[in-house]
């Protein structure tokens, strides 16, 4: 069962882990990834990161990504949370959790979830530089390549 949420508010990774495990004793391991706002981009100091999203579509996209992970691995639950709005360096942007009886499945599903989210969830980052300038982050070839790894493994 997937928990998917898009929110402006901060999230509590420990509380989400506890929620994922609550009331069950059959989980063997939980993989996790937390994305954090960095204080610089290409050597240029960043004052804030603004995250725009497509409200109607983001929840659907995250639900699909989670469902895809649950179809590919033996998961007992997963959590995908993504923040939007204006975040500061050091703030947590995204949280992915994947619980499984087996550690490799938990870890692989975690990597898959974050890779796919980066190329399939309708979020756009804008960096606000220390001098007040702002620039939209360009999609990275790296991210497309990372997501493509999982495509070639389909079917």
């Amino acid at each position: 069962m997937a928990t998917v949420r898009v929110q402006a508010e901060p999230f509590d990774a420990g509380a989400e882990l506890a929620l994922l495990l609550a009331g069950r004793t059959d989980v063997g391991g939980v993989g996790c990834f937390v994305g954090v706002v960095r204080n610089a981009a290409g050597g240029r100091p960043i004052r804030a990161m603004r995250l725009e999203h497509y409200p109607g579509m983001t929840d659907r996209a995250l639900e699909r990504i989670a469902a895809e992970a649950e179809a590919r691995w033996d998961l007992q639950g997963c959590t995908v949370l993504h923040r939007h709005g204006r975040l500061l360096p050091g703030d947590l942007i995204v949280l992915v959790l994947a619980a499984s009886p087996h550690r490799q499945a938990a870890l692989d599903a975690t990597g898959f979830l974050i890779d796919w989210l980066k190329t399939r969830a309708p979020f756009w980052k804008q960096e606000e530089f220390a001098d007040g300038d702002a620039a939209w982050v360009e999609a990275r070839q790296n991210d497309t390549a990372a997501a493509a790894r999982w495509e070639s493994e389909t079917l």
Binding site: P122, W124, E138
Partner: protein, 84 residues
Amino acid sequence: MIHVLYFAWLRERMGRAEEALPLPEGIATVAGLIGWLTARDAAGAHAFANPEVVRAAVNQDFAGPSDPVRPGDEVAFFPPVTGG
């Protein structure tokens, strides 16, 4: 009517986040709609100047250039996503 949404720098270049418009005569695909918006005014020409960095969704699913657009649809245009 169709409901058209713009995000990130496409929103900025279009000067609006959304608009409702009648499906233009003879337009039946995402590519067709992009062509029509490009020709409509300077904002559209600027926003869609570089179509290979424009992505689209129809009714909140990612869509390609040849995907159909029908009356009642919600069509969104945006740059490649950069979340995570």
